[in-house]
Symmetry: C2
Subunit: 224 residues, 2 copies
């Protein structure tokens, strides 16, 4: 392992956040282990409930394991993709997104690395705040990983379809019963490129004090 | 509203990620609305499942609403805090964390702004991958918000205790039944300061191809 990762993460935070997007079309070229480990080291800096730091990350590079994950993904996609296309008729933006997801489904076994972000500990489906604490201990770290991948120029996306059967995912990855797979991040050098994303004006998703009280409706922050 | 937020977010990504930590002791001094909105604008850049962009953020500044959230938080803390102190006897680091949470519980109504991150849409407790897709659509945005707060020099933390009763949280915030509160982020100018956090070596939380296969055990990435 080299002494230092060849890639720096000194992109300004605002640039990383505003140009992050799902990049699904990836080249098969390998990624240095040192870079993969550094991405996960940065993921580890995110908060966890009660500071338990109970993440587990599986980096999959073995073609046989990738093929099994890709197969599970295709199974789920064959159902969701068809539904999605029917629901998105006449929405060119959504159809472009579905094309990219389709590409990903056909090529998932060829990407150089697939990271599965998992959590140790019991997963209770209820009440909401317990579930929120559970998943809230892994998705902040996933977002760190995605931002770091963006800064490194790696393509990445957050998906969950390969996990449609937790039982099957546990079997493929050799996960014990008390380790829950939560997110899948295929990583590779991008065929496409990163770029800006479109969002509703912030004033449309913000309420003041009580839901529905929208003093900033239609407005941006003024800093964009 | 000013034309531009006075605060820049040009801190390098790596610095923001590696120096982010829960900052719970906050001054009561106000935060500019433009800055609050910019934090949420950056939160909105995070991915959501099927690109639904179904977040809702409630910014609470009204003392009466803050007091109600603080009361719910104290109720949960009076139970969890006692258990935590008993479980952490002889662990000075954990006891320092509990002191900070205790301070937060006593002063939550005094912080200038409390952001509640919510999601529209049905929350199904099962299966795991559906729950993961649900909470995976809000916690990446929460992490963006925490990183942006760090870069702006604002203190912030991710908590869920004020939401122990979803019913009660919905009533306090006027949330409809199909909007689920998922995370609470108290924001304010810090009394303490940000600084490095400690984590296990990345090699101890990473497996290669199958869980438990740890070729990098005890190792850092080499880039830290």
């Amino acid at each position: 392992m080299p002494d230092a990762s060849p890639v720096r993460f000194d992109m300004p935070l605002e640039e990383a956040i505003t140009t992050q997007r799902a990049v699904r079309r990836l080249k098969p070229d390998p990624i240095d282990d040192a870079l993969l480990l550094r991405l996960i080291e940065l993921a580890q800096k995110a908060p966890t409930g009660s500071n338990a730091q109970n993440w587990e990350f599986v980096i999959v590079k073995d073609p046989a394991v990738k093929a099994q994950l890709a197969k599970r993904n295709r199974q789920a996609w064959s159902l969701y993709g068809g539904l999605g296309r029917r629901a998105s008729r006449g929405d060119p933006k959504m159809l472009r997104l579905l094309d990219a997801v389709q590409w990903q489904a056909e090529h998932l076994h060829e990407v150089p690395a697939i990271v599965i972000a998992c959590l140790r500990g019991p997963r209770l489906p209820w009440p909401n705040f317990v579930s929120a604490s559970f998943y809230g201990s892994i998705f902040p770290s996933v977002q760190n990983l995605l931002l770091a991948a963006r800064a490194a120029g790696l393509g990445a996306a957050l998906i969950t379809l390969p996990l449609w059967s937790t039982f099957s995912a546990r079997r493929i990855l050799g996960l014990p019963w008390n380790v829950t797979p939560c997110a899948v991040i295929p990583l590779g050098w991008p065929i496409g490129k990163y770029g800006p994303t479109t969002r509703r004006p912030v004033g449309d998703v913000v309420s003041l004090d009580r839901f529905g009280n929208r003093p900033w409706k239609g407005k941006a922050s003024g800093a964009a």
